[in-house]
Symmetry: C2
Subunit: 204 residues, 2 copies
Amino acid sequence: MIRLYDYLSSGNAYKVRLLLTQLAIPFERIDVDILAGASRTPAFLAKNLNGRIPVLELEDGRCLSESDAILFYLAEGTPFLPNDRFERAQVLQWMFFEQYSHEPNIATVRFWMHTEMTPERHAQLERKRALGYAALEVMERHLGGSQAARRYFVADRYTIADTALYAYTHVAPEGGFDLERFSAVRSWLERVAAQPGHIPLTLA
Amino acid sequence: MIRLYDYLSSGNAYKVRLLLTQLAIPFERIDVDILAGASRTPAFLAKNLNGRIPVLELEDGRCLSESDAILFYLAEGTPFLPNDRFERAQVLQWMFFEQYSHEPNIATVRFWMHTEMTPERHAQLERKRALGYAALEVMERHLGGSQAARRYFVADRYTIADTALYAYTHVAPEGGFDLERFSAVRSWLERVAAQPGHIPLTLA
């Protein structure tokens, strides 16, 4: 059975849990206590030299890391990833946007507020806040801009670009981000949450 | 003809110039003076809402942003991207590693040293330096680790994972990173630079 090295409050790990569930692929969850250093042990580094979750371990033992690369692997050949070459590249464009412009700001501030707001972190807060809001503004303009409004990020249907961006956008308020003025983003969040097989980030 | 919205000293733009050249695809370079705000004009934001180069504009006017998504688009169906599904995901794994763990540290410090080391930037320097060296260490272990040494990052041949990682690794010393102890990385840099059709970052 496929194994997912997981951490429950991580949005990056949640992306993979969500897609595996929607694809009805059975998997075993292995909890990795990242706060206790469990992603830095020799055994874990043999699975991902970069010492981060999530890691997907296939039945033959091969491992894949980086949440959005895992999504792409799982989604190939399914309705969650377009067959069209340009649309597939657009999906990747939004996933790289997510990892470069969105996650390091919105997810990081949420993580700080869940754990500890040290003086060093506090000094970076204003800048991360501004960059996080800038990322939300890009999403708002794409979804609700002057062109015809879009229901989803790519190809007018739900793809892994939406999965990737949903993970940390829907919990952005936990990092102190106010989504009030992002009405197109809020409508899109509702559409994503209404997808068949959707599961919440926090397991019951 | 394909257009590349470009900035000469950007490693992210260089990746695309390099692959277009190796694929023998003719393209027109459009210089965007990012330091003068040219990537934030309404005309440019219509091509990339996130206001960043590189942007690839196809002949029909469609635009694609995010350097590694552009590489993937251009490389599909060529020897620069494997056909095997798992290997393709490994290429993406290393490209997401590049954008999340490598570029924000190594490329950013280089950019600061090329432009201005403000007090705010200086305060982040030590942390960026440590994270940049950690990324180089991951590369060194992957290429030269206890398993059989690897010639390239994925599938034992030159792919866009190498293109993506080469861009800012080979100019890391411009950001004050010393590559001396990364011997496997240095050998790999030489192999990448010896590829057919290779061009340097700085145009003559």
